[in-house]
Amino acid sequence: MTLEQLSPAAAASAAAPSPAVRRPHRWWRPILRERSAVVGMVIVGAFALMALFAPWLATHDPTLQDFSVALQPPGADHWLGTDSFGQDLYSRLLYGARFALGIGVGSVALGLAGGLLVGLTAGLVGGRVEWALMRVVDAILAFPEVILAIAFVAVLGMGVDKLVYALAVSFVGPFARIVRSDVLQVKSLPFIEAATLMGVPRLRIVLRHLLPHVASSLLVQAGIRISTAILLESGLSFFGLGVVPPTPDWGLMIAEGRGFIAMAWWISTWPGVALALLLVGLTLLGDGLRNALAPKSQGG
């Protein structure tokens, strides 16, 4: 199941609430009408470009330590200055966008996949399986996501990959619940019944008819969760529970610069501003998408 398969149909169902009308060419119109969505898209897009072209945009190796140029203020050589290890902050900031977006998108994608699996199974199979699965989901949801993520980091250890898994697990619960409630709603619609009566195979009904209907609200949720994931990722790294130094991670950079804030404000300011800006962009984009695509969906 790829996103390409999902999106045209999903967009059609979003643009036109009635499933019978398909207008595949106009799905972006309601999004462009949301000013906050456009602003958010521009901000997030800029960070995505930074992440994508980091190797070409960077002026130094992000993890190259050179103590002879430690704690340099922003200048011609090091555009945004250097940290206490003499690492170039501009280059670290660029690569940091990679880690923030990569970990954010990766963990949400994994969590979404898990939630989709659990939610679809629960919603379609029903009965005892559904009951049992949903009690497990309830239990996952009983843990605040930050506690769950910390617990999994404690078990798995630190590092980028482990952080992605830890965050992904904490997202399975919310996604599973949304998918299940959407599936239950869509399952009772007449066109699904019609397809079942026509003898369309079950898996095909799920993939072709059910998923596209669930997809738009799910994508909006995923968009909102990415900012949570990035916030958690940088927060955990800030505590020393996330990625390990000298990874150019914004949370880690803020933590490093914290002790030097009075004498070298630039070390923690750049990653802090970048992080805040990216989170604002993601929030605007998420809210705009929600208003445009799923006006009356589950809040939060």
Partner: protein, 315 residues
């Protein structure tokens, strides 16, 4: 209604049972062997075997689980390897009240700032006030608490010297000093909620003000403040409660981050330092405690709906 409450309580108990199994397995999965950790330098195979037997670690796991759960319910949460203090005391008597005070203070502040700001923005929709409130609200709710905390300490603590930058004083020991120390953390944590509350109040109030009962109330000649505060705001309380309830996880996330930044010895700090020190028993206690608290508060929020909206009671 009582019946619904009862089934809800039963469901909550079930969730807590699953949660306790998960917390129990957490300690089993955590790296490192508790026996060798506890023995430390006094490790010998014989001592290890004796301690394993004493702790009941050689018994089958359902038995171990029940033994652990029994101890947990009675408040016997074990002792910390490092400080050798009782984990129950540490978590429930020392850390939890601090986190609760911080969260409650932040929530109170967020409500006091967020609701009026959202109301003003909604009533002056499209104007400069609305623009400022909306922008600040988005920034406040999106800003990572740990970075906002650093900035606030830098500006108001180091720069202006208005607030202490370090240390923590329990408000129940010295109220004025405690509040002085808690002010910056509460602002840091409250910013997230204040933004969220302002955004929600604004959008719901705009929505509600378009209804015909508002026009009817105004046509009856009721003053504007009464129409807004009595007729409209009552309907804003529901979505507001929903958002506050749904975002409790966000409050806790912020509390953990804020505590670490300001070195406040609350639950978040306890859990984080415990992970760093590999004290998994303390982590386990913290996980159980937050989950327990989270589940109970969610139950409370659900019951609040029925109190706020009489229409739901008759279902």
């Amino acid at each position: 209604m009582l019946r619904a409450l009862f089934s809800r309580l039963l469901q909550t108990l079930l969730v807590l049972a699953v949660v306790s199994v998960a917390a129990f397995w957490f300690l089993k999965l955590a790296p490192g062997d508790p026996v060798s950790l506890m023995l430390g330098a006094e490790y010998s195979p014989a001592a290890a075997a004796r301690l394993t037997h004493e702790l009941g670690l050689d018994r089958p796991w359902p038995q171990q689980y029940l033994h652990w759960l029994g101890g947990f319910v009675r408040g016997d949460w074990g002792t910390s390897y490092i400080s050798h203090s009782d984990i129950f005391r540490q978590a429930v008597y020392e850390a939890l009240p601090i986190t609760l005070t911080l969260s409650a203070l932040s929530l109170l502040m967020a409500l006091l700032i967020g609701i009026p700001a959202g109301m003003v923005a909604a009533l002056r929709r499209g104007g400069p006030v609305d623009w400022v409130v909306s922008s600040v609200a988005v920034l406040g709710s999106a800003m990572p608490s740990f970075y906002l905390g650093i900035v606030l300490v830098w500006v108001f603590g180091v720069g202006l010297g208005w607030f202490p930058t370090l240390g923590f004083v329990r408000p129940w020991e010295d109220f004025a000093d405690g509040m002085h120390h808690l002010a910056l953390p509460a602002i840091t944590l409250g910013a997230y909620y204040a933004g969220l509350i302002a955004i929600t109040t604004r959008s719901s109030l705009i929505d509600v003000m378009g209804h015909s009962f508002i026009a009817a109330a105004r046509a009856r000649g009721e003053p504007m403040w009464r129409v807004v505060c009595v007729h409209a705001m009552r309907n804003v309380l529901m979505p507001l409660t929903t958002v506050i309830g749904l975002q409790l996880g966000g409050l806790l996330r912020g509390a953990v981050m804020t505590e670490v930044v300001f070195a406040i010895p609350g639950l978040g700090m306890l859990i984080t330092t415990a992970v760093l020190n590999r004290e998994y028993g303390v982590v386990q206690a913290g996980i159980m405690l937050t989950a327990l608290f989270f589940v109970l508060v969610n139950l409370l929020v659900d019951q609040t709906y029925q109190w706020l909206d009489p229409r739901l009671r008759r279902r």
